[in-house]
Symmetry: C2
Subunit: 244 residues, 2 copies
């Protein structure tokens, strides 16, 4: 559904907040972001909104819900390489590289805004400051992926899950959620796909963490019981998230 600028402004506000938390933008630049026009789309759970290999002409901003970036092997097993929450530009990288090398899928019912590359490119051309802000977002995204790679490559399963939960807690806290009691509607299968383990093993590790009274994940609710211990177990350091 196409939307008028005044509507878009409201939907893009969380993204603008994210941008300005890392990149100072003056009023004109901020107005330029909010003045972007796009299409709102409601995506059902487990539905791709960017398909693998597709050549995109829009970049997607997450307005509400939860989305994942997926890669998969020839044999069909999947790996989630990023989780995106409201305010995240899920594929801003598609502006310089439109060929999607991974798919984007809604994990729950998710609302996105699609903004034409053409409009974003105009901003980049006009304002080096905005160009740098966009570039910075994709670099932070890559820094997060780098940390995931360390975790998947070198941490035992329990620590991977713990680290992922720490990260999501911090990222949700940065958009206004209660850090210790928040909604995180990922299934165990999806968690396993993000951690590079099987769903069975993810289940066992979650149970361990719950039994040890570190954290409870149930019915899409994440309750952190012992933050310090969880952080220690995960050896989590939030610096890489570049949050304020």
């Amino acid at each position: 559904m196409a939307i008028s600028p005044s509507d878009t402004a409201k939907l893009l506000q969380p993204w603008l907040a994210r941008l300005t938390s890392r990149s100072p933008l003056d009023e004109v630049e901020q107005a330029a972001i909010l003045g972007l026009t796009g299409h709102v789309q409601d995506v059902l759970p487990n539905r791709d909104f960017v398909r693998l290999g597709e050549r995109t002409t829009y970049a997607c901003i997450i307005v509400s819900g939860l989305a994942g970036r997926f890669e998969q092997t020839a044999s069909g097993t999947r790996q989630i390489t990023a989780l995106h929450i409201p305010g995240d530009p899920a594929d801003l990288h598609s502006v310089p590289v439109p060929a999607a090398s991974s798919a984007l899928q809604a994990l729950t019912r998710t609302t996105i805004v699609r903004i034409p590359h053409a409009e974003l490119s105009i901003l980049v051309d006009r304002s080096p400051n905005i160009a740098m802000a966009f570039w910075r977002e994709t670099v932070v995204d890559a820094a997060i992926l780098s940390k995931w790679t360390l975790n998947i490559g070198r941490a035992p399963a329990r620590q991977r899950i713990a680290h992922l939960l720490c990260e999501m807690s911090c990222r949700y806290a940065a958009i206004g959620a209660d850090r210790f009691d928040l909604s995180f509607p990922a299934t165990q299968v999806q968690l396993a796909d993000a951690a590079g383990i099987t769903n069975v093993h993810a289940n066992r590790m979650l149970r361990e963490l719950a039994d040890d009274e570190l954290v409870h994940l149930k019915n899409g609710k994440l309750q952190i019981v012992d933050w310090d211990k969880l952080v220690a177990d995960a050896s989590f350091d939030p610096t890489y998230l570049h949050l304020p």
Copy 2:
């Protein structure tokens, strides 16, 4: 050692070639790249040239040799998240985000050029086209990391090694090496750190690949015996490398 522009131009030529292979740059823009001034540095094996957490003021271009990006856990085990060959801008991402969230280390004797962020920022400010080219490089870098994450998270050890060797073969071929017989001076320990396995297991997988007459890696020389079979084993598809 500080170098004059005429010297730099020669050293930066491989990087310019990389840039223009993905991003059309006009003559003025190309001259601007080659006109950058920097410092050449010779780095000994296993020496960091960017330390973890450091706030950098230079971006490093690899001129010759082989470098790795390292992350490590609290317990000290390391994960290589990127390998950089001549012509690679190893940390162009430091321009928008100067805090190094991973270290850069020479794997063999390596020559780099350090270019001040200040100079690169000037180019970004003046030329949206160059800004987009720089941004694109870091996005391709992230796409490669994303593929690594899939491999490390979901592929068995043998396949991870095979995939890594396929990738390096393609990347070296793109800078003029013989795709089937090339110099790749990584040790088995380093290979293991990149694949997220132990050096002992890396050794066994390499032996398997050699016994099966797929590929030989010995004394820093990579000889690919059966490319098609290796590609099949690795389920390797070079699209993500965005090579010409």
